[in-house]
């Protein structure tokens, strides 16, 4: 479809149809290419696993993620201690000690259950921040590109200023203003991510604003809002999806960093970044409490990065395959 834009006369188009066996669409092609890329498949498998854990966390967890086990007599009697290393019966851990496959944390909670509960948070963090940034970024970019003139200038210069800060530093500054907490951290990361999306949308608005099909619409008296949402924005969709997927990876990393610094999720919430931050001084004595949340964050970020890279290649019509 997009590769054949030169062939516009009806005869050629029908000839084209008879040659190819089934009509191809950008999305179907993209999915085919995506499923052919090994790294994208790895990303999708990781993401599917994460989704599974996030959806069925109540079934997978063995203990309550927030309540210390001090009040459970059989656990205390069996000698379960704080920051115990992983104990898996199958791997030779004595039967009389209760099984905690990822050990216990500094507040005598089952670390595995906390890790399982953390999966949903990392996904919620990634999707809400990027969703927020895409919605606001799209609006700002569309208004800037469509209105032009001083509106465009004011909006885009503001975006330039925001891009002039290293993103984590600006989010730290915003959280300082709003006060620590998960919601505020998400808001900060969302705000900081806006410029990326507004630039993408503005660029595609500018590229199709003067196109014939838009002029035709305008001549027919179609409302500006309709032109924007039905004609212009669909053109911005592919770059937005790619940037959004990669943006989720960055957002999860930044949120984990804020939580690690104590500015994001607050204890006892089982969020990986804050779990890591809470036990960071114990890395020499109880390394498992640092190791597992970090690995989990890394795999989550990796899955979005691989998927985003794969989608960029799959959705790029310039790559000849």
């Amino acid at each position: 479809m997009m590769t054949n834009s030169k062939l516009s006369s009806p005869e050629v188009a029908s000839l084209e149809e008879t040659v190819s066996h089934r009509p191809s669409s950008l999305w179907r092609d993209a999915f085919r290419h995506l499923f052919r890329k090994r790294s994208a498949i790895v990303g999708m498998v990781l993401l599917a696993a994460l989704l599974f854990v996030a959806l069925f966390h109540t079934l997978l967890a063995t203990h309550d993620p927030e309540i210390p086990m001090l009040d459970i007599p059989e656990e205390v009697a069996a000698g379960v201690k704080k920051r115990m290393p992983p104990c898996v019966h199958l791997l030779g851990c004595p039967e009389e000690i209760p099984q905690h496959i990822l050990g216990t944390d500094g507040n005598l909670r089952d670390f595995y259950s906390r890790m399982v509960y953390g999966a949903q948070w990392s996904l919620i963090i990634g999707f809400t921040t990027v969703g927020f940034a895409i919605v606001l970024g799209t609006l700002l970019g569309a208004v800037a590109g469509y209105a032009g003139g001083w509106v465009d200038n004011v909006i885009m210069r503001l975006m330039d200023v925001m891009l002039a800060f290293p993103s984590l530093i600006l989010s730290i500054a915003i959280v300082t203003v709003l006060g620590p907490g998960l919601i505020n951290a998400l808001l900060a990361i969302g705000i900081v991510s806006i410029p990326v999306y507004s630039r993408i949308v503005r660029a595609s608005v500018l590229s199709v604003k003067e196109a014939d099909f838009v002029t035709a619409d305008r001549a027919l008296g179609v409302r500006s809002s309709r032109i924007l949402f039905h004609r212009i924005l669909p053109n911005a969709l592919t770059p937005l999806i790619v940037a959004g997927t990669l943006g989720i990876a960055t957002a999860i990393l930044d949120a984990a960093a804020l939580s690690f610094l104590g500015l994001g999720a607050q204890p006892p919430m089982p969020e990986w970044g804050s779990m890591l931050g809470a036990e960071r001084n114990q890395v020499f004595t109880a390394p498992h409490l640092v190791f597992f949340p970090g690995i989990a964050i890394m795999l989550t970020v990796l899955s979005f990065n691989l998927l985003g890279d794969g989608m960029r290649d799959a959705l790029d019509p310039r790559l000849n395959r």
């Binding site: 330039d160 200023v161 002039a164 960093a257 610094l261 970090g294 890394m298």
Partner: protein, 357 residues
């Protein structure tokens, strides 16, 4: 070229003013009044009134902004609420540590990233390529703070009592002192020169090198390895990926085929013809890494107990020392803009096409 540089400088001015405005606004938006933030929650109105009066904090916000610009123009970032010292003084103490750390991290990233990218592009789709790209993908996905903590555990606990044992925190071992250059060489200095040498003396590795103190240099470098590795891993991965894709693109061009058909050796084609053009986007990417380095410094310095700008920023936030947060954020952003400007200009120098746009 001069015209281009001037144009870029002029374009940077509104961005810098914007940064000042954003930082100013953010700090004014902090809930609670500055007097009680500085003097404590139980400060009475009788104490607070003169305090606010003296600092012009009773004036309307636009007037305050003008005062603030005036202070900035004098190079005054205000005083720390907690320590009662000028923020600029803290900055002079803290900045060298961050600069040195960032320098070594970037050095590591470039020295490892570019060769990895070249190898990967040269043996495209081979096992080496796949392995490099897996490493790079994992590298960009790792949280910096986690990598730092794990490095500490591996090199200070697991490898304890082996030659590979490395110190997990600090900048120098207890007992190792590297005095400023003017003490080493018994120079008589004062004023700006002394400040500059004091600034330099906080960069232990450089200072030791100039003093000819090899034992101190070795110790300073040993302390730098882990934090520089932790901080440099993400930029390294990004540089490797960029070098690979850029080189692959260039190697598919006609002039490379011409070079090959002339009978040039393959390494000459890649190193002399391919790499020179492939490096342009890599230079841009390297420039953009400073933002990652400065942000990563907050985390790395906190973990490795280095008293740099990043950790000072973190400490100021936890202590609600807003003047310090304001000043340091401003300086980091201005540094970032300046470095990007330098990158843009050097890019124009390397690629004449950019100047014409």
């Amino acid at each position: 070229m001069t015209g281009y540089v001037i144009r870029r400088l002029l374009l940077a001015i509104p961005v810098l003013l914007g940064i000042v405005f954003v930082v100013f606004t953010l700090v004014r938006l902090i809930p609670g009044d500055p007097c009680r933030a500085a003097l404590g929650e139980r400060a009475t109105d009788e104490i607070c009134e003169p305090y606010l009066e003296r600092r012009g904090l009773n004036e309307p916000i636009p007037v305050q902004f003008v005062y603030y610009l005036r202070e900035l123009a004098r190079g005054d970032l205000g005083d720390s609420y907690r320590q009662g010292r000028p923020v600029t003084q803290m900055l002079v103490e803290r900045l060298p540590v961050t600069l040195q750390l960032s320098f070594f991290a970037l050095l590591f990233a470039i020295l490892v990233g570019i060769p990895l990218g070249i190898v990967s592009a040269n043996w495209h789709n081979s096992g080496v390529d796949v392995a490099t790209m897996i490493t790079a993908n994992i590298g960009v996905s790792m949280p910096v703070f986690w990598l730092g903590l794990m490095l500490q555990y591996v090199f200070a606990v697991l490898l304890k009592d082996t030659p590979l044992q490395l110190p997990p925190s600090g900048t120098l071992q207890a007992g190792v002192i590297i005095p400023p250059l003017y003490e080493t060489y018994e120079w008589q200095v004062s004023g700006a020169v002394k400040t500059a040498l004091d600034f330099l003396s906080k960069m232990h590795a450089l200072n030791a090198l100039f003093s000819g103190n090899m034992k101190g240099l070795a110790d300073a470098l040993r302390h730098l390895i882990l934090p520089a590795f932790a901080l440099g891993t993400i930029p390294m991965a990004i540089i490797a990926r960029m070098t690979r894709s850029s080189l692959l693109e260039v190697l598919g061009l006609d002039y490379i085929r011409t070079a090959r058909s002339k009978g040039l050796k393959e390494w000459a084609v890649i190193m002399r013809h391919g790499l020179r053009n492939a490096m342009l986007p890599v230079v841009t990417i390297i420039g953009l890494q400073f933002g990652i380095l400065l942000a990563g410094a907050v985390l790395t310095e906190t973990i490795f107990n280095l008293s740099g700008v990043g950790r000072a920023l973190y400490e100021a936030i936890t202590a609600r020392d807003y003047r310090v947060v304001e000043g340091f954020t401003l300086v980091i952003a201005v540094l970032f803009v300046t470095i990007n400007l330098i990158v843009d200009v050097s890019y124009a120098y390397l690629d004449p096409r950019v100047r014409l746009q």
